[in-house]
Symmetry: C2
């Protein structure tokens, strides 16, 4: 189940680690199987009670043999994949669109960051990393349970929305950009940036000021800095605060 | 050389990938060996000329067999490690101190981010990931050639500096914090945060406002958002700009 083709066939994916599994059980994903060690179940009795008919008790050694992560784990869940469904967006909210984010660690970190800033809708191009890849699930640190992700053709999708901020190298300074109440933040591929055919759909290019020698920022880092600037309190909004 | 003990013994490390190797050759690291494919050398004749006595020409297949990265590479350099030397800091500059950052990808991304914001001095606790780990070098995207890194006991180090901003969960809002002209930004471990014995050395705790459900941010993400706030133009500095 560490390979996409098996996940697709089984329509299931793995969630590993105490924190991720506990967050998972608070959300609405369907857990079809829980594999856990005895110490985990003794510490989490309500989990054992809730999922008693879906439970396999194993040793830590057996669990580690199944695990995709290298650290010692005490629990692992088999979870039903969600169907890929469009997300309704209204004009007073922000969503993030990802163009060819191929590194699973980056996708997971972006999901975690979106969750931190209260962005719960993520639109991915078809060639982004798979949401159910073990590294995406792991690096999202439980946030995949709260952030909805929809894979689609980004060009057709973005055409429908008038406000698209594109994270780019030669745009308006993000520190002085006036962001509205909603819109889509478009983040491009780790090395190539935003695809040429999507550039025409950007309503405003926005850049993070560079003071040093690096040519670019990591895609998840750029997403976070953009989000932090979108959601900061501006002097206009709260003149007394700054 | 993918294992720390061999890197330590050989006092050398590997740099892979065209971008990283080209940036390396512009810096002051000593390259003791360059392994490259013929197509790479044809496209980079000045490299071939400069390092002709240290050159091994191999096929792409041979190179991939040596590589620690999974993608197709065309060049790999064997580079002399630098000795671990203290960095002189003056009071008008910023440096970043890392407490137990154990993930090599995070360390590399922090180095790249520091380089973007013009911070060229990084102080690591002894138990941080190894600077010369292939994943650190790779995820720094060439920035390891510009950012100096010093491993030391952080408690003794921080005691010497009066201005230490600690990235923490319950601190002053980073959006309204008035940062001075210099200081140290202290970032804690990925899961445990800043060590208890270092907390007393923080002169100001600073937090990134959270709007959503995630419990925490990735350490490299937190570093970037802090840096972006330290180096933004404040209304006081440029009243006309905002």
């Amino acid at each position: 189940m560490q390979l996409k083709k098996y996940r697709k066939k089984a329509q299931s994916f793995l969630v590993e680690g105490t924190k991720s599994v506990l967050e998972l059980l608070q959300g609405s994903f369907e857990v079809t199987h829980l594999v856990a060690t005895e110490p985990f179940l003794m510490q989490n009795e309500e989990v054992a009670a809730k999922l008693s008919d879906k439970l396999d008790i194993v040793t830590e050694k057996q669990l580690n043999a199944m695990s995709a992560l290298k650290t010692n784990q005490s629990v692992l869940a088999v979870v039903r994949c969600r169907s890929n469904e469009p997300l309704g967006l209204n004009e007073n909210e922000y969503a993030i669109a990802l163009d060819q984010i191929s590194d699973p660690g980056n996708l997971g970190t972006i999901i975690r960051t979106a969750d931190w800033y209260g962005i719960y809708k993520l639109i991915c191009s078809q060639d982004c990393a798979d949401l159910y890849h073990p590294k995406v699930v792991h690096s999202s640190m439980g946030s995949f349970t709260r952030v909805q992700v929809y894979y689609t053709d980004l060009h057709s999708f973005l055409e429908e929305y008038p406000v698209v901020y594109g994270a780019a190298l030669k745009g308006e300074n993000v520190h002085t950009t006036k962001f509205g109440n909603g819109g889509i933040l478009l983040i491009g591929n780790e090395t190539r940036g935003i695809s040429a055919n999507l550039e025409e759909l950007i309503s405003k290019k926005v850049s993070i000021p560079r003071l040093g020698g690096a040519e670019s920022l990591n895609a998840a880092i750029a997403t976070a800095v953009m989000c932090d600037n979108i959601f900061r309190i501006t002097p206009e909004q709260s003149p007394g605060l700054l």
